[in-house]
Amino acid sequence: MATDTAIHTQEFQVNMGPQHPSTHGVFRMVLTMDGERVVDCEPHVGFLHRSMEKMAENRLYIQFLPMADRIDYLSSLFCSVAHCQAVEQLMEIEVPPRAKYLRTMFMELNRIASHCIFFGVFALDLGAVTPFLYGFRERELTMDLLEMTTGQRITFNYPRFGGVAADLPDSFFAVAEKFLKVFPGRITDYERILNENEIFLARTKGVGVVDGARAINYGWSGPNLRASGVNFDLRQNMPYEAYGELGYEAVVLSNGDCYDRYLVRILEMRASHALIKKCLEGLPDGPIVKEKVSKFPKVPAGEVYARVESPRGDYGLYLVSDGTNKPYRYKLRTPSFNNLSMIREMLPGVYLADVVPIFGSLDVILPDVDR
């Protein structure tokens, strides 16, 4: 497919990854290039495969709970909440309302943390270093809130079967108040630096366009799908935890290019901010964990599918239980895996420089792909 010119050109292969500054982990693409243009792409995943599903089958339900945090370490709360939801559905445990609200609030904080990283890393992919640090700065604020409640900054191990591990500390409200006050201004800063920046627009508008039907066919979900004009957000369409009471309206854009995938996440940060505010205002009193739930439960036989809207998309857990205290089959539907699978179709024809923002705009995280 070398360009049809009188000059003889030769295609060559560039091995991008597994160690490359912008593959966000260990991901390898073998790019066949014609000059600066990509002709073909052969993705290789699995460098981070830890066989999480096999690990789950060998461990007690409670033992896998902190492990679930490590499936997608940027949005670890979602994985462990899905784990708890699956077990709770099988055991028919009703979670107390306060625990629901706490889970919701911290999931939204976690989402902000994850999107902050996306913002920073996406800008970094395009060569702007400073937004990267700004993104991390705001992430620290959310991490502080999470740490003072859960005890850790990344792997929280916060939800429990039938509730959550800990209630809010007294000092939480003041810190949260401060965070809620400063955060919108910080997003405005982000928008000032990138949103209308001519260089940024030139690099992202019309790059990596995917329409809604194609996105669905490839199993895309989450912000990527919503950027392609599909109005679907589990928080809006199939509310779980406290989303039903809080109400949520999905952020949907229509162009399906890198810019919209970026903008969806920026807007979602604002939406999450509003949700956290609502959560704090409407936080009900009561117990934080359902009483008399064993720490080492024997889960009744059956199968269940728990679905949560993680920052990367539709995170699902298909759990088959055989009535013992260990899962029989623990299938993870990780959104990044499906989101990434289109990369092979998206890359041919673009410039080498566009490979990076296209890959970055998908916001995949490799442990989530490889599990």
Binding site: I62, Q63, D144, G151, Q152, D189, I193, I199, K295
Partner: protein, 153 residues
């Protein structure tokens, strides 16, 4: 018309490039938010889960009753306990209790399941050593650091 649009775009583009510069300049004039790590340190939040430690009882010894709940729950299998039954003593006698901090994933489940408040997470996070073997903590080492009173729940 096209000329006007092009000029409009030029003006808009320049304006937003300028706004970006203003934003970075604004940050340039602000105070740095980082700290100089070994000289200064963050104050830990009271719940911070550092490494696992054993809580000293009133006599200064550990409070473990060798019920092995922590071993049962540990997702990393990093705790090893040796115990035996002795005539005349209720329950078990602890022969040895070892936590391999190199394997520990700091989930805090062992502290949570302990019914005798024998374990706690102390806010210690600087555990680097040159030899992996030093990461295996036995009872005296686990007792060596205690929670400050204000860190207790």
């Amino acid at each position: 018309m096209r000329v006007f649009r092009a000029i409009g775009r030029l003006v808009k583009g320049t304006w937003w490039l300028f706004v970006g510069m203003v934003t970075t300049t604004k940050h340039f004039l602000r105070r740095a938010i980082t700290i100089q790590y070994p000289k200064e340190r963050f104050e830990q939040w009271p719940r911070f889960r550092g490494r696992v430690a054993m809580v000293a009882g009133d006599d200064g010894g550990h409070k473990c009753t060798a019920c092995a709940q922590c071993i049962r729950v540990c997702p990393a299998a990093c705790i090893t306990l040796e115990r035996h039954k002795e005539g005349g003593v209720k329950g078990f006698v602890v022969d040895g209790y070892v936590i391999d901090i190199g394997l520990c994933i700091y989930c805090g489940l062992c502290v949570e399941v302990c019914n005798f408040d024998a374990l706690a997470m102390v806010p210690e996070y600087e555990m680097s050593v040159y030899d992996k073997a030093e990461l295996v903590y036995d009872i005296p080492k686990l007792l060596s650091r205690q929670l400050e009173p204000e860190f207790k729940k």
